[in-house]
Symmetry: C2
Subunit: 339 residues, 2 copies
């Protein structure tokens, strides 16, 4: 058996911690033999949860961290002052080489700050972007950046394009992924100042397959594999995706219940509808990696259940095996040396 | 009978011109006796279309303008050079007082430029925003600005909030409309530089009901009546709304056809589904007004059919009757004098 990928998991992060988090760890190690999970958090709480399951003891270990960083704490202050929190302790494990990756469903702000301050950036990476995979008609696309760096500069967006391209090729397995920049028109001269500045830089990028602008209308059609945007815009896209899908499901259910005809039809198509909307739930595709760091940091959805946690853990294996960070380092250094 | 509201209609604008445009004019005057439509465009083409219908000749008049501005022309240049285009001629009618409003499904860029250059801004208005109404779970919200002014400043967004508030109160009839700013978190300290600067200004606005930040996730739930954002973000929201709803409809249809069970259920629920998605089609709520101009300018969806054109024309009546521009002038002057 090959050596196990070691994942530090924030047992205290997210709406359903520690119950669903611990359950997700159990499911991950039951599914994959090549994973070891360090459950980081309050020892007694974790032990209580673990006692419910049968599992290979060699694959799960508790790392005690008795503090918790909450969502409403100011991230920088929280990372500085709560040295014994599950987020800080988990990231320190990655930094020291004791773990290959860190997964958390906790405070996005604290994870972003901790990632930069504790784990640290790959040399040459200016801003590590948060890059979730979002569902499309035919598959998935990578939305990069979706919340890590508001008011980013053009040079940051170029790095996002490269990192996203590497991720989609190595992790999702898409050959020569199509990279597009989110814009408000298809033409090169359209856009705000940031997009106008970034567009020609992307066009001149030799190591990515830049296909030009993408309007938000085309995103769900899967017209690009890597969707580059500034974090504010990316966050709006990600959250509207979620909100609109939920609203439509609600509206359809409501409408079906209004008539006898709808109720009958609804009974027939319930599984189909459920399946369709499930495919459009952004949260089911594992967590969002924070790219460009020396170790892997994955932000799972705040209301993740055990399946989403399990998927986020398993994602770390592919990430490690494919040596994404080495690829990113090469691409970024490549540019640095071209300067 | 009260005096007729005079609407100049760009007969040459949009994917379905002149056929659906002329048809929309016919439908509008057949429905409302208090409207007069000036069909602006190529005389012979318009006459050909008009010859298909019976209508009150007093309510429709042709204004010959033999040039057409296309979507791929640079807007500023097109407005300057094509003096005899339907857009320039229609706007000149508004400027000279010959019409109360101008409706076009043509080039957004040319309409935005023409609105400012030909019709002109109300004194004190810095940037006229494009403000479509979008569907929500329970009704509609106004999205302002959704494409007119990229890289807007905080002071512009404050004016958008006021103009949007006036519009929703007077036109849509919502008392004390809730105004929110699009943000990537609910807290005041969240956001990019623009939002952080705008938030306290909106908070201090006495004449609007500012309820704080809105995350994109909550927009479809109708948590605010007036959704304030910078044009790039607004455009992304509007287009993703459209794209995602279309993708989901497509996906559901596809899934239903995959199984016998789905086919049967689908036959039952087809009218229900159609109705639901119809409600979520942003284009059905008339055109988007370009607010803050001396006359009313309405941008209809590029692929508008006759119904959408009719709705856009009828919208002008309410706009005129409610004296929106007078309200906007008062609100803006009110601020100016507070400075």
């Amino acid at each position: 058996m090959s050596e196990r990928i070691r994942v530090a998991l924030d047992a205290m992060g997210g709406d359903n911690a520690p119950k669903e988090i611990v359950k997700g760890a159990i499911e991950a190690v039951q599914e994959k033999d090549n994973i070891k999970v360090f459950l980081v958090g309050k020892k007694v709480s974790i032990e209580n949860e673990l006692s419910k399951y049968q599992y290979n003891k060699e694959q799960i270990e508790i790392v005690s961290a008795e503090e918790v960083i909450t969502n409403d704490e100011a991230p920088v202050m929280a990372i500085r002052s709560k040295k014994n929190s599950s987020i800080v302790a988990g990231m320190n494990l990655v930094k020291s080489g004791g773990a290959d990756a860190f997964v958390s469903a906790g405070s996005t702000g604290a994870i972003l700050v901790g990632g930069q301050v504790i784990v640290g950036r790959i040399k040459g990476v200016e801003r590590p972007p948060l890059a979730p995979v979002i569902p499309t008609m035919d598959g998935v696309s990578l939305l990069i950046d979706c919340g890590a760096n508001v008011d980013a500069r053009a040079s940051h967006l170029v790095q996002f394009a490269k990192m996203g391209s590497a991720y989609m090729e190595k992790i999702v397995g898409i050959q020569n992924p199509r990279v597009a920049i989110v814009n408000i028109g298809a033409e090169e001269e359209k856009g705000n100042a940031l997009v106008k500045e970034t567009f020609p830089l992307l066009k001149n990028c030799k190591d990515i397959n830049f296909i030009g602008s993408i309007e938000a209308r085309e995103i769900p059609n899967g017209q690009a594999d890597v969707i580059v945007c500034e974090a504010f815009v990316g966050n709006v896209i990600l959250k509207l995706y979620e909100g609109l899908a939920n609203a439509l499901v609600g509206k359809i259910k409501e409408s079906l219940m209004e008539t006898a005809r709808g109720k009958i039809g609804g009974a027939f198509i319930k599984p189909v509808l459920k399946n369709t909307f499930q495919k459009f739930k952004a949260s089911d595709y594992g967590g969002a990696p924070l790219l460009g760091l020396k170790g892997l940091v994955v932000k799972a959805h705040g209301n993740s259940n055990s399946t989403e946690i399990k998927n986020s853990i398993i994602q770390c294996v592919t990430f490690s095996e494919q040596k994404i960070n080495e690829t990113i380092r090469d691409m970024i250094e490549n540019v640095e040396s071209q300067k």
